[in-house]
Amino acid sequence: MSSLAVPQTEPVAGSTPGTAQGRPPLRRRIALIPTVTLFLGAIYCLLPVAWVVIAATKSGRELFSTFTFLPGTGFAGNFRDLSAYRDGVYWEWMGNSALHAGLGALLSACVSAFSGYALAIYRFRGRETIFNVLLAGVLMPPVILAIPQYLLLAKADLTDSFLSVLLPQILSPYGVYLARIYAAAAVPADVVEAGRMDGASEWRIFTRIALPMMIPGMVTVFLFQFVAIWNNFLLPYIMLSDDEKFPITLGLFTLLEQGANTPALYTLVITGAFLAVLPLVALFLVIQRFWSLDLLSGAVKS
């Protein structure tokens, strides 16, 4: 915690002997302890990712015989084996995940935008009650929901279907919450009022005026929900039994279950994990530039 620009009070505790002491101070000195701490944190967080990247390049024999962080030569072979595994079921899992997360997050962002806009712009009876009830959903443990959801969907003959995983994940209390805060901040009341003066319908005001102003916030809701659905395990685990409908999380889990006792399957699991991480990490690297952190802080402050 000894970050300091003022040279004379540099705490000695942090600086190892010989650093910067007695040397003419650099124009901008490096705060040593924070930099090193953060660097160690980064190494800790990147370690498993680095491991899986390297392990995915190893053939089955190399995995057990060569040093862990030494790249192997088997990536192409692993990739072929994984793609051939049960007629390419792995790529079906990826496709299912993309479909679940993409469509689910899109619908979620729409529902959040409608609700957030209504809650932020209008004054109406029951506004706070509706908001609080919707928000209470975020506190409901998924477990108390998942089992009755399964039984109820079974009565509707919808279990083991795409819809059984999609529908319960559309309404996101957190998304509604973010959308309300964002709409309140981004859509000025007098703009809405001006629209009404011009005789525009409420729907037209929303789609033509408010929605474009809310787009950055809705992108954030979409991304949060995309990650949440892509990463969800419990719901598909309970709902689905046909492994061609599995998302990638569930698919990898079943692969691990089979592979745990047969080290020959380890390379498949590792390569599968590596490829499953890629799209999310790529998405993450692209979006973190646009990620509206002010929105997050606004959410925290209120």
């Binding site: 915690m1 705490p11 953060l38 443990p141 380890y266 973190q288 802080s297």
Partner: protein, 308 residues
């Protein structure tokens, strides 16, 4: 003019309800109805008459609180709750402590590589819990782990990370790894919101960065700390994915390791949805009790401090 105003206000009056309709329908179908059904199930049981063959042989009858007393005396559930409590006592303080530490470091002056390290520490957020558990699971396996390779070369003892006490640490580590970054971003963002003038006076008075962090920064981000604590407790008590994923790799993780796994086994492994529903209601209730209890205690403390 007057009549158009009335007409418009009529349209305006209906509009918010129309906009809220999709969310309300989804809430009713996928939140309210399942919760109600879970409570209904938890108060019922199946009565089998005769040999249990034919239709009408199995009837749902009122069970009162029987399922609840069964659940509370179920040693597997109670042991699972104790295991998760121990696990939570490791995860929550370590994860939030690290998140706060990293956030304060990011917020300090003259830090090099801050954008890179911030991104790297946040990265695990993008990785599914199942995949995280799988990656660490392999790192815990002596055959492929670099840790064991190093221990072996150094001639040090090689503990079994997937058994006994170390298993708690192994599982906690996965949760800490996955959750620190997100919480760090939340705390860091509220640190950034503190206006710089707040520190200026303290700096002029010669306060060290450590003093500024302890006396000014941490109290000012207390609300976001409370919030991260609150959500961490909820998430921790419901741990399911990580132990389920590690299960194929070790015999030490039973099918009832956490309360949620116990519920899942009873509902789908043993087909006792009534008992499982009662357990789920108890877990939900305990979670809400613990998290709101914490929230109230935190609020009371803040009020006291504000009064002083």
């Amino acid at each position: 003019m007057k009549s158009t105003a009335r007409r418009q206000s009529y349209g305006v009056k209906g509009a918010p309800y129309a906009f809220l309709l999709p969310a309300t329908i989804l809430f009713a179908l996928f939140f309210a109805l399942p919760i109600g059904y879970a409570i209904w199930l938890s108060l019922h049981k199946v009565k089998v008459s005769g040999l249990g063959l034919g239709s009408g042989a199995r009837r749902e009858v009122w069970a009162g609180l029987e399922n609840y007393t069964d659940a509370l005396t179920d040693s597997e559930l109670v042991n699972g709750a104790l295991r998760v409590l121990g696990y939570g006592c490791i995860v929550v303080p370590v994860m939030l402590g690290l998140a706060l530490l990293f956030a304060l470091m990011l917020d300090s002056e003259n830090v090099r590589l801050a954008p890179f390290t911030r991104l790297a520490i946040f990265l695990p957020y993008a990785i599914p819990g199942v995949v995280a558990a799988l990656l660490w699971g392999f790192l815990y396996l002596p055959d492929v782990s670099p840790f064991y390779f190093v221990l072996d070369k150094l001639g040090l003892p090689q503990p079994d990370l997937l058994d006994g006490g170390p298993l708690y640490l192994a599982l906690s580590n996965i949760a800490v790894w996955g959750g620190t970054g997100f919480n760090m971003i939340v705390i860091y963002t509220s640190l950034q919101a503190i206006p710089a003038e707040v520190y200026e006076a303290a700096k002029l008075d010669g306060a060290t960065p450590v003093q500024i962090a302890l006396r000014i920064k941490i109290p000012m981000v207390a609300p976001s700390l409370v919030l991260t604590f609150f959500f961490s407790i909820i998430a921790t008590l419901q741990v399911f994915n990580e132990p389920t994923t590690l299960k194929p790799l070790t015999n030490s993780v039973s099918t009832t390791w956490s309360p949620l796994m116990n519920v899942h086994r009873d509902a789908f492994g043993e087909g006792d949805v009534y008992g499982a529903a009662a357990q789920a209601v108890i877990i939900a209730f305990a979670t809400l009790l613990l998290s709101f209890g914490f929230l109230r205690a935190a609020n009371r403390r803040q009020k006291q401090e504000a009064a002083r």
